[in-house]
């Protein structure tokens, strides 16, 4: 068996490469420039990198193949996710730009890590081999552990990092065991199968060929995969880390986690379950349904009594994971596209929300409590208005993107005959509406305290981010046709 060097096709991973290179450059640059020009070059550079990566991704739109000996899939699905991640990344960077200054943690590494993490998430989305998926997951997880703990001086930040890290590695062990079992059962970790020597047929092929009686081990493996990925998307009962990690992390990071790692995690879930393991749906559907119901209800209910906005949003993100799962369960084109749409719009909204949080919280953490938002509308109408918009969108009120997202996923579920699931979903979102409204109550129906008068003022970048996300939230709620088209065309490879 002679050595055949692989033909190098970089199209699939071009964006990742760009981001990584940019990150390295940025590190070096940061090392040299130190605190020279007022740190604008870092976000600018990262933005450029993101933009370039995005362009490279878009450039491939329409392709549908696996590359690098079947390790990565280059298909509409991954491209959609990558572009979305690019947007998230840019927003995060600029939101962080202010936040770091306010929090006094100006570090070039932050941007580098953002880029790396984004790259990892992208790889996750396009991974066509479980090993690649695992590595990608680890890459962005480790990156996130660090970013969560970025505010060294803050006990909360440290604590979040530790919890996130311990549970994260714990869960990745399970995920890895799942991969091992897949390997054991099918003799390959590759999803689609490759032609190059040394690698066998893919899991999909195995499923197509093997009689259902021979799938025991694979089914069990499915379970472990659900556990591992469920952790990433904060699905009950693997959600426990979420509130703590979200609360302690710097607000932009929280936003990035909520938006990005959910998207990446769900990208993996969608590819694995709705595409590869689709024949096994009889096995995993009941479980996902159970998880979805639990997630929606627990997330919504537990958020009801939260007093800390970040924590509240954390629980709400759990609930939203549940809503997306409804789309996953539908396991139809509608379901996949709906979930993608949901994730994209949810990401934008939640990023905006956390941008507002980061503006309000200023330097210290006790400004994240709801009481810090008393009468905000009468001091910062625009800011409060934006937050209102985000809250309504998260609550799923029409004319916001959040509503459309729910419409799509629930529609998909109903289309597949899971009307009752949709009913549970809407009831959960009714409960959820309660605590979103509580935020509005605080902002509009309570008088501002005196000491609130000196509220930190967001810099241009974060305000810009808020504006953009707000517009997106509104715009995608009114003219959502285009994005819906993209999500619908974002089909899997094969």
């Amino acid at each position: 068996m002679p050595f055949t060097p692989p033909d190098v096709q970089l199209a699939a991973i071009a964006p990742e490469i760009v981001l990584c290179v940019a990150a390295l450059v940025l590190l070096v640059l940061d090392g040299f420039t130190g605190n020279m020009w007022n740190r604008l070059h870092l976000p600018v550079l990262s933005t450029v990198a993101f933009g370039f990566a995005g362009w490279l991704a878009i450039d491939q739109w329409g392709a549908a193949e696996t590359q690098l000996s079947g390790m990565v899939a280059l298909d509409g699905f991954s491209i959609f996710v990558k572009v979305t991640l690019v947007v998230f990344g840019i927003l995060t960077v600029w939101c962080a730009r202010d936040h770091l200054t306010r929090a006094g943690i100006e570090e070039g590494e932050f941007y580098a890590l953002t880029l790396f993490v984004a790259a990892g998430m992208m790889l996750m989305a396009s991974a066509a081999d479980l090993i690649v998926m695992f590595l990608a997951l680890e890459t962005f997880s480790i990156g996130l552990y660090v970013m969560v703990g970025f505010r060294q001086h803050s006990l909360n930040s440290q604590e979040s990092a530790l919890k996130y890290f311990l549970l994260g590695s714990f869960s990745s062990a399970f995920f890895l065991l799942g991969i091992a079992m897949v390997y054991g059962a099918t003799g390959t970790t590759n999803l689609y199968g490759v032609t190059t020597p040394g690698a066998s047929e893919g899991v999909a092929h195995f499923l197509a060929t093997t009689p259902s009686s021979g799938l025991g081990l694979l089914v069990l493996a499915t379970g472990f995969l659900i556990v591992g990925l469920g952790f990433k998307v904060a699905a009950v009962p693997f959600h426990s880390w979420t509130p703590d990690a979200y609360q302690g992390a710097p607000s932009p990071v929280t936003g990035f986690m909520a938006a990005g790692s959910k998207l990446a995690g769900f990208a993996a879930i969608l590819r694995l379950f709705d595409a590869i393991l689709f024949p096994l749906r009889g096995d995993w559907r009941p479980i996902l349904i159970g998880i979805a119901v639990l997630t929606m209800i627990v997330g919504s209910v537990l958020a009801v009594v939260q007093e800390d906005l970040k924590r509240l949003l954390a629980y709400s993100s759990i609930a939203h994971a549940g809503f997306v799962l409804v789309g996953v369960i539908a396991a139809s084109d509608r379901g996949v596209s709906g979930s993608l749409f949901y994730l994209a719009t949810y990401g934008l909204t939640v990023l905006g929300a956390f941008a507002v949080v980061s503006v309000i919280e200023g330097r210290d953490e006790d400004r994240m409590r709801l009481s810090a938002y008393r009468g905000l509308f009468y001091e910062r109408p625009a800011l409060a208005g934006a937050l209102t918009l985000f809250m309504l969108s998260l609550a799923g009120v029409p004319l916001t993107s959040g509503f459309i997202g729910k419409l799509l996923v629930f529609g998909a579920a109903i289309d597949q005959g899971y009307t009752w699931l949709a009913v549970i979903g809407v009831l959960a979102s009714a409960i959820a509406a309660f605590f979103y409204l509580r935020v509005l109550v605080v902002m509009y129906m309570q008088e501002p305290d005196e000491d609130q008068a000196l509220r930190a003022n967001g810099g241009i970048p974060s305000n810009a981010v808020i504006a953009v996300t707000a517009l997106a939230t509104l715009g995608l709620g009114v003219v959502w046709g285009p994005l819906f088209d993209l999500a619908r065309d974002a089909t899997f490879f094969f």
Binding site: T419, V423, L427, A430, A433, M445, G481, F484
Partner: protein, 506 residues
């Protein structure tokens, strides 16, 4: 005039006005905001008058609307249009809104946002009555929720936050269930999925499916109406809302519920509707008697009126569901009547509150001495809502009861007894507030209605008499549309041609 889409213009004038107000009017110039709001609402009314004149009662189906594709991927369109039923709902809204603005003159805190919300609310309500695309309808339906939530929550009294929350959540739960039903219908549609009401009509569904979907819609509408026993949000919302809020809530938003039943719940699922009619009728009748009984015992004037609304809406729903053209037309007319009378009552109570800063009946007494005009008007309006012949209330209630009698014979007795109870609680309240000796010194010195207040009440009173004495123009326009719905309720079947499979559909 009819070459312009007057209806859509009317729908969106308030929204445009709201934006204008929000962006251009400075915060510290409340008067500008007030007058601007007044101008905008009056303009809307003026435009809606064109709609009224262009309306052709004879023409079948919907008219004066417009149609545009919006989200073709989901075959969602901007489709509007009105028939004899929605026409009057639209007119009612545009007519009452300027009065609502006038009633809000006394709002002094955060004037600008107040009127912004009020205007958005108007657009929402108009949209609900005109939308012929279920998606669009749901959109407007929810849009009305937000501004009302803020109106109650920010400018309300006492337990405003509690009330607003209750209002929002009650309605939301209902409407979310409706959303599921709408989606189900969307996918069940014959041919490719669509939200277009006119295409969805006659979608074949098994009886079981119809039942579930009907209940889905019903959940939303019954909360809004509100139908016993889902009414408990109403007293709180009414009581705590600012005057204009109460007026709009009672006069228009409750009608949205009934309108939904007439426009969607019945025509889309006639078999289920027919099957469940006894239940609905029973609930309505219970509502009539129960609402009246509870109203009798209220100590708060606004609460009393709120419960009277429960009773009156019971009448309306009764008329809608008995399935006779008399009942249906009466029901629709009664919607208008209730809008006028209850709206006026809330304005009066609001005026009282501004003067005495209390709504406790016990705090009043003998007011007819100090404010004869107000007393007279109050009595007049009360009589109209008691259903005194010659005033508007009677025409509606009579037709409803007549229809009930022809369809359900003696079921009418408890319903008709409702009008006795109505007399009892309203006259008793009138006696306790306006008659008897002046017990509380403050009551002897309060000033009578001002010109502004007279100005906002006069048109209502005029209409009350007009409808009472000469309802012909109203009934003539309502009639055909109402009869269509009646026919749908009685004959229209959308069961699948191939044998009726029981149980839920796909």
């Amino acid at each position: 005039m009819s070459d312009l889409p007057m209806l859509d213009i009317a729908i969106f004038i308030p929204l445009a006005g709201a934006l204008l107000l929000a962006l251009w009017v400075p915060k510290d110039k409340p008067d500008i905001a007030r007058w601007a709001a007044l101008a905008i609402t009056v303009a809307t009314f003026a435009v809606s008058l064109f709609v009224l004149f262009d309306f052709d009662a004879a023409a079948p189906g919907f008219q004066l609307g417009s149609e545009a594709s919006w989200i073709p991927q989901w075959s969602i369109g901007y489709v509007t249009g009105i028939d004899g039923i929605s026409l009057w709902m639209v007119m009612l809204t545009t007519f009452l809104m300027p009065l609502g603005v006038l009633a809000s003159w006394s709002i002094t805190a955060r004037v600008k946002p107040y009127f912004v919300f009020l205007l958005i609310l108007e657009t929402g309500m108009l949209g609900v009555f005109c939308a012929l695309d279920l998606f669009l309808f749901y959109l407007f339906w929810e849009v009305t929720l937000i501004p009302m939530y803020f109106l109650i929550g920010i400018w309300g009294y006492g337990r405003r936050v509690y009330a607003s929350m209750k209002f929002f959540l009650f309605t939301l739960v209902g409407s979310l269930l409706m959303l599921v039903a709408i989606l189900f219908l969307y996918f069940a549609a014959t041919g490719n999925p669509t939200f277009d009401y006119r295409e969805l009509l006659g979608t074949p569904l098994t009886l079981g499916t119809q039942r579930l979907l009907f209940l889905g819609f019903f959940a939303s509408f019954a909360v809004k109406v509100p139908l016993f026993p889902l009414h408990t949000w109403l007293p709180d919302a009414h009581t705590e809302a600012p005057t204009a809020g109460s007026v709009m809530l009672a006069a228009v938003m409750l009608k949205m519920g009934v309108y939904g039943l007439i426009r969607f719940a019945i025509p889309l699922f006639p078999d289920a509707a027919r099957e469940l009619t006894p239940m609905v009728v029973a609930l309505a009748i219970i509502g009539i008697v129960y609402g009246a009984a509870v109203a009798m015992m209220q100590k708060d004037l606004k609460r009393l009126i709120a419960y009277s609304s429960v009773a009156h809406l019971g009448f309306v729903v009764l008329g809608v569901f008995v399935g006779t053209s008399a009942g249906m037309s009466g029901g629709v007319l009664q919607m208008v009547n209730h809008g006028l009378s209850t709206g006026a009552l809330f304005m009066l109570v609001g005026a009282l509150y501004e003067r005495r800063h209390t709504r406790e009946i016990a705090d009043f007494g003998g007011l007819a001495r100090s404010v004869p005009v107000m007393a007279g008007i109050f009595l007049f309006v009360a009589l109209s809502s008691i259903g005194l012949p010659g005033l508007n209330g009677f025409v509606g209630e009579f037709l409803i009861l007549l229809g009930t009698f022809t369809a359900f014979s003696w079921w009418v007795i408890p319903a008709a007894f409702g009008i006795v109870l109505a007399a009892i609680y309203l006259l008793w309240a009138y006696q306790r507030v306006f008659q008897g000796p002046v017990t509380n010194e403050e009551n002897s010195s309060i000033v009578d209605l001002r010109w502004r207040e007279l100005g906002m009440l006069a048109p209502v009173l005029a209409l009350i008499v007009v409808i009472g004495m000469y309802p012909k123009p109203f009934l003539d326009r309502i009639g055909p549309a109402a009869d269509r719905v009646v026919i749908q309720l009685k004959e229209g079947s959308v069961l699948p041609a191939s044998g009726v499979a029981e149980g839920v559909g796909p």
